[in-house]
């Protein structure tokens, strides 16, 4: 693996740490801008277009505004927990990029031999921060948001990991770079079911779209960050998009072949960025379209729909690996057919239903 740029471990470490921080902060700005611009056409309006051409400086204006706001700590808050929560939420978004290869072998530690395990472990960390925010604010709305995020994490971590095991089986490695190298056929074509499960579970994991239960603005005011303002709120805002970026990057790397793509060797980074933006566009699309699920439906969907499907996906992929070793290209058709049939059949079996509890009042 190249230790770019100076062939020195420490220099490599320092340079890439700075690159990752700049990359994440910059891309978060791009994402905020992109999402708000994309919402415009979806909702038959323009989106931000005042601050500069195409509203490109809107995130800067937002950031300046939010930084000038007073930082309020409620009297009922647990001060240290309240203070630490935004940091605990934001840091994992940065940490995930340690193992993401921006180009063939270029990254902080893209060939870490437990790369995928590292991603799974780190991405679950931010939930602690969210719960800290919910608990530490001393507000009931925040507390409900915090409890919801735990329920959500417990039910969606399992299908997420199971869908990733399929990737590991086919690639034969946990190292992210190896997985990218193994994708002669991008994995979202090879195992569409696994990709769909991953995408939905990842959306729930980063709390966006129809799964934004923990901030649920129509019910819980702002959920876990109701009591946050100023810089700390900005941290949550950054973290939300940071996690969206991280999950888009993980999806682009594990299922869309990361830096691989036609053309010159050097435009690998551009391919990577393009794929990240595409995944993020899918997330925006779903967020604008769907209403929110209820908390019991959310957990029910995770356990009764995604979990069995991800198990079946794992069986299919494992069977194919045992049968053929290297999965031939025509297995695409088998997998695609299996995905369509399974989703159709399971959606017939699965009902949201229920929800009411008898109470005596």
């Amino acid at each position: 693996m190249p230790l770019w740029p100076f062939d020195n471990y420490w220099a490599h470490f320092a340079v890439f740490s700075i690159i990752i921080i700049i990359f994440v902060l910059l891309m978060v700005m791009v994402f905020i801008w992109f999402e708000r611009r994309a919402f415009g056409p979806f909702q038959m309006r323009w989106g931000p277009n005042r601050s500069s051409p195409w509203g490109a400086l809107q995130p800067v204006a937002d950031a300046v505004k939010v930084l000038l706001k007073e930082d309020i700590i409620p009297a009922a808050a647990d001060k240290w927990v309240h203070f630490l929560a935004p940091i605990v939420v934001f840091i994992p978004a940065l940490l995930i990029f340690a193992v993401i290869p921006f180009h063939n072998g270029y990254g902080l530690i893209p060939d870490l031999n437990i790369g995928l395990l590292y991603i799974v472990a780190i991405s679950a960390l931010s939930v602690i921060g969210v719960f800290m925010a919910g608990w530490g604010s001393g507000n009931k709305f925040s507390l409900i948001g915090g409890m919801r995020v735990i329920a959500q994490m417990v039910s969606y971590e399992v299908p997420l990991v199971l869908s990733l095991i399929g990737v590991v089986l086919v690639a034969g490695s946990l190292s992210i770079n190896e997985i990218v190298v193994a994708q002669d056929i991008p994995f979202f074509v090879l195992m569409p079911l696994g990709f769909l499960i991953f995408l939905i579970a990842a959306m729930a994991e980063i709390n966006r779209g129809p799964f934004d239960l923990l901030e649920a603005d129509s019910e819980l005011v702002a959920g876990f960050h109701t009591e946050y303002s100023g810089m700390k709120f900005a941290m949550f805002y950054l973290a939300e998009y940071g996690h969206a970026l991280a999950m888009s990057a993980v999806a682009a790397t594990l299922f869309f072949g990361g830096w691989r793509g036609p053309g010159d060797e050097f435009i690998g980074v551009l391919w990577f960025l393009l794929k990240v933006m595409f995944i993020f566009f899918l997330l925006i699309w779903m967020r604008t379209t769907f209403p929110r699920l209820r908390v019991d439906q959310l957990t029910g969907f995770g356990w009764k729909f995604l979990f069995p499907l991800s198990l079946m996906n794992l069986f299919i992929v494992a069977g194919e690996v045992i049968l053929w070793g290297e999965i031939p290209w025509w297995a695409i058709f088998i997998n695609f057919g299996a995905a369509v049939t399974l989703i159709y059949l399971w959606s017939r079996l699965f009902k949201f239903g229920g929800g009411r509890v008898e109470v005596h009042a």
Binding site: K140, P210, A216, S218, G353, V357, E358
Partner: protein, 371 residues
């Protein structure tokens, strides 16, 4: 660890009066066991302005703008209910053209109000970036343009007058109305594409917040809330006013009285309103729009109750006249407040999210609930 160490207890959650989804300053005192609602108490009165009392100190014409401030998303219908009551007590006959204009305004108002009701309902369900609501604003704008054309206002119209309307419709009004009526079904189909078969929407609304038929009748609910529970009751049919007996239209009803039915009834009522508008345009007569009524009206001693079917339900005004220029007493029958009284029974046992959704499906305006 034993269970008495892990003791749980219900807690009280105060939603409102300042809350994003309380449609104003409504307050809900909810007792929660985890996410489940075990007790519920609606508290209102934060927006009380004493409109009924103020009305006793105003002349009959001056009260019309007060009625705008009740159901502010359907002010035309509020105007209409009030002037009907006064016309009854004063024995004023409205010219035919005036009645047709009132019907057209009422039905446009119904479409506009139902658009907002459905839009905000979906918002409460958590279309957290407002997409369906913004689609519905597009058509509401067109209706508001029409209203602006006839009375110069976009929210508080103050258009109806005792004996007619404040001014006849301008010449450009009818062609634009015709175009709107022609375009609107296409837009409603667009909402249907986005919403009708949406699995999440169905899961969140079907069977949720059920208002049983007998409870709906007993709590004297009216409007779409009552009709969604399967009761075919519409003032336009039950006690035809203005010229409603001249139009063919259906009264859509639901079966289960859940949030989904309330949403469906509103969508179907928009289609029926368009039907009425089409017929009203065809039959639109000439002549005067208003009767000659003295500005300082002194109705004879007596009392009368006038009601119309507003988009929210039956709105009525009970007016007692003592032959002075101001009513001796004016009482308002507020449809949204009365519909709201059954809310507790609709939400008990459901989750916090359903409380907001059910509350949104009733379609209230705090201006009218608190008066």
């Amino acid at each position: 660890m034993t269970m008495d160490v892990l003791r749980t207890e219900p807690f009280v959650l105060n939603m409102g009066p300042q809350h994003p989804s309380t449609h104003g300053v409504f307050r809900m005192r909810i007792v929660l066991d985890g996410e489940v609602v075990v007790d519920f108490e609606p508290i209102f009165g934060y927006l009380h302005r004493g409109i009924e009392k103020i009305a006793e100190t105003r002349t009959y014409t001056q009260i019309i703008p007060l009625t705008d401030r009740l159901l502010y998303l359907s002010s035309m219908a509020c105007n209409h209910a009030y002037v009907r009551a006064v016309e009854k007590v004063a024995g004023v006959q409205v010219p035919e053209r005036g009645e047709y204009i009132r019907v057209i305004m009422d039905e446009l108002m119904r479409i506009s109000s139902h658009l907002m009701a459905v839009g905000f309902f979906l918002n409460d369900l958590g279309s957290s970036v407002y997409t369906p609501l913004l689609y519905m604003y597009r058509e509401r704008e067109k209706i508001l343009d029409l209203f602006e054309m006839v009375c110069g206002q976009r929210l508080t119209y103050n258009y109806m007058r005792i004996g007619g309307v404040s001014g006849d419709v301008p010449d450009e009004f009818m062609p634009l109305l015709k175009r709107f009526v022609a375009e609107m079904p296409h837009y409603i189909d667009e909402y249907e594409q986005l919403l009708a078969q949406n699995e999440i929407l169905l899961a969140r609304t079907k069977g949720v917040g059920v208002l049983p038929r007998d409870l709906a009748v007993n709590s004297s609910a009216s409007g779409p809330v009552l009709r969604a529970s399967g009761v075919k009751w519409d003032i336009r049919k039950a006690d035809p006013y203005a010229v409603y007996d001249r139009f063919a239209f259906d009264v859509p009803v639901g079966q289960n009285g859940d949030n989904y039915d309330r949403y469906r009834v509103r969508i179907m009522e928009m289609h029926q309103s368009l039907r009425i508008l089409e017929q009203a345009m065809k039959q639109f007569p000439g002549g005067e729009a208003s009767a000659k009524v003295p500005l300082l009206l002194r109705p004879p001693v007596g009392e009368a109750y006038g009601h119309v079917e507003t988009p929210q339900g039956e709105m009525g005004y009970y007016i007692v006249s003592d032959n002075s220029i101001a009513p001796y007493r004016m009482h308002i029958r507020p449809p949204a407040l009365i519909n709201l009284t059954a809310l507790r029974d609709m939400v008990l046992g459901w989750k916090v999210a359903d409380v907001i959704a059910t509350f949104g499906s009733i379609d209230i305006a705090m201006g009218e609930v608190d008066r």
